[in-house]
Amino acid sequence: MSEDKKTSVSFRNVDIMFGEKAEQSEALKLLDAGGTRKSILDETGCVLGTADASIDIKEGEICVLMGLSGSGKSTLLRAVNGLNKVSRGSILVQDGDRQVDIASCDKDTLRHMRTERVAMVFQQFGLLPWRTVEENVGLGLELAGMSVVEREKIVLEKLELVGLAQWKDKYAHELSGGMQQRVGLARAFATDADILLMDEPFSALDPLIRNQLQDFLLGLQKDLNKTIIFVSHDLDEALKLGNHIAIMEEGRIVQYGEPEDIVLNPANAYVAEFVAHMNPLNVLQGASFMTPLNELDKEGDKYIANFKTSLFFSVDGAGSALDAQIYDDAQSLAIKPISTEEDVAGLNDDCIVVAPSDMKMRWMIEIRHRTSNPILLSDGEKIVGLVGDDEIYAGILRQTSLGQEEAA
């Protein structure tokens, strides 16, 4: 992720308060004085949606807003296209060369943003039941005033993208949940909006279909490169999809960072509780649970890779792996550098693998299983550490123990 990418959506100190207009200013004052959600509700009758939410979302990245129900994640998302009104603060959305503040823009600008710039996918799909799939997908274009003839081509193209072209004349309710949500996706893609808001789009689906659609979305995203703000209550989903994750609690963003960051350094007990229940295999990178090279035991100038099997290895002056051998028979093992996950499938016994240090835990386990040897991790050419059985176990266990400690 390069830093020079443009910011696509920027939340600046966004407060959202639900309630009568007259009481809102009172409620905001209470909020500033440090009032909690409950005290604000008791005193003014206003419900605090989000408080002081500030994040910048770069073009082409997937940002996941995560939290329990009632944490304000959907509220914040829905403010991006004005479905929820911002009480204070601003939401700047890129529109060509200018930035539009959704919180204060006029009706026509908001409509322009909704028809051309920001599209949305809903948890309950939000398809119109009296319309065919084709008519549903064309909704956004129709509302923007495009003629039937012009729509047809685009709609068909988007339906092909989601693999539902042959279903175009069916009614939405004749399709399965997963297919309905793909219609929802096609509808959102149809307007060619660069920003996609997804409000728990896969939560209403069964786990298998959910997983499929996540992969499907990731696949599409590679080509489409949209800015996606995704709301989820499932950390595994967030970790799988997100380039960045914002964890929300009681209307506030309590932690914002890259997936690994969240997992390794939970900001508080609430985040740790989430982390405790997630699956580390697809998240933890080798570097986070390896034993660094300088902490490995040495025998002379050789590093001990596995004491029990008497496996040693040595590195050359530039730091790359030179030689690996079992002590007894003095026979060298083959050293196999791999660069991607696809290479793992071809591995077999009797070699030592040098893998990139950002490879995920699941693949480390797979390599360990295939080769029966520990794995050397490299950063470029340089060996930086080692992952063996102990490191893998500790990596998994640390995850759970960390969560329990913090939650307790």
């Binding site: 296209n81 909704r114 949305m120 009296w130 319309r131 909704l139 509302l143 923007a144 009614y171």
Partner: protein
């Protein structure tokens, strides 16, 4: 207690004065309405009567058969209408149908927009609801008298009385249909930039359509139930022979005219019932 009985509050008098006031100062307005509605009903009735009865029978039969894809209903329609011709009430039936069509048309014309507004403006609905209740509970005869004064004898006061009685149905059902549109659908349309107008015509009305159609059916049946009463102020139709039979204690005539009304009612109900529909829930 005696005091209370002796000092009667002249509510009736007030109302009479109010009606007098309206007739004195707004006669032009009522005359205008009378002319328009008179022209409207006459045009409908005359054009229906212009065709020979067998053409109408064939047309209605064909329409019913086509609409419901049912030859049984077609056969029933044809036989019923032929029976009415046989009874000798064809012309009266046409007048009755005219009254129902016109009353339903006027009711829908005003009822649906009122229902839509009521669904969007809760305060307006709060005001409208008791008014609707009143329109349906006040005995028809009571407003028949001022209707007679404002609009004279004939089809028009009958039409007005019928509309007053029937219009709450389309208002209520339109209100119900529009206000029960699920929020996610409204939000989906809004999120793609729907204007208020687009929201109404592309989401709310399509969603409420089945309910509005139910309002139409109800409106037709309510209008039909006013036939006899409308005839008391001189509206032509099947109510006239019923009234005459009542005045002359003519059982045979009364039964035949009543039978004709029942047949028209059954036919309208069967034909207007929503045909098996595609899509939607």
């Amino acid at each position: 207690m005696e005091w209370i009985a002796e000092n009667k509050i002249p509510v009736g008098k007030w109302m009479a004065n109010f009606v007098d006031f309206l007739t004195d100062y707004f006669f032009w307005f009522f005359d205008y309405i009378t002319i328009v509605l008179e022209g409207f009903t006459t045009a409908v009735a005359e054009s229906l009567l212009w065709f020979p009865d067998w053409i109408i029978i064939a047309a209605v039969t064909a329409f019913a058969t086509w609409l419901h894809r049912s030859w049984k209903l077609g056969l029933f329609t044809a036989l019923s209408l032929l029976f009415i011709v046989n009874l000798g009430y064809w012309e009266e039936t046409i007048y009755t149908v005219t009254l129902v069509i016109c009353a339903t048309f006027v009711s829908m014309l005003f009822g649906v927009p009122l229902g839509v507004v009521a669904a969007h403006k809760p305060k307006f609905w709060l005001f409208l609801r008791p008014v609707l209740d009143m329109m349906q509970t006040i005995p028809t005869f009571v407003y028949l008298i001022p209707a007679l004064i404002f609009f004279g004898l004939g089809m028009v006061p009958g039409l007005i009385a019928t509309v007053i009685f029937a219009i709450p149905a389309p208002i209520r059902l339109t209100y119900l249909g529009i206000s029960s549109v699920p929020t996610p659908l409204v939000e989906a349309a809004e999120s793609f930039g729907a204007t208020k107008k687009q929201l109404l015509f592309k989401v709310e009305i399509p969603h409420a359509f089945p309910t509005i159609m139910a309002g139409l059916t109800q409106c037709i049946m309510l209008s039909l139930s006013m036939v006899v009463i409308a005839s008391m102020v001189g509206a032509d139709g099947l109510g006239i022979p019923v009234l005459r039979a009542l005045n002359t204690v003519n059982i045979a005539k009364g039964f035949e005219a009543g039978l004709a009304i029942v047949i028209v009612a059954i036919l309208m109900d069967r034909i207007c019932k929503r045909p098996a529909h595609k899509g939607g829930e």
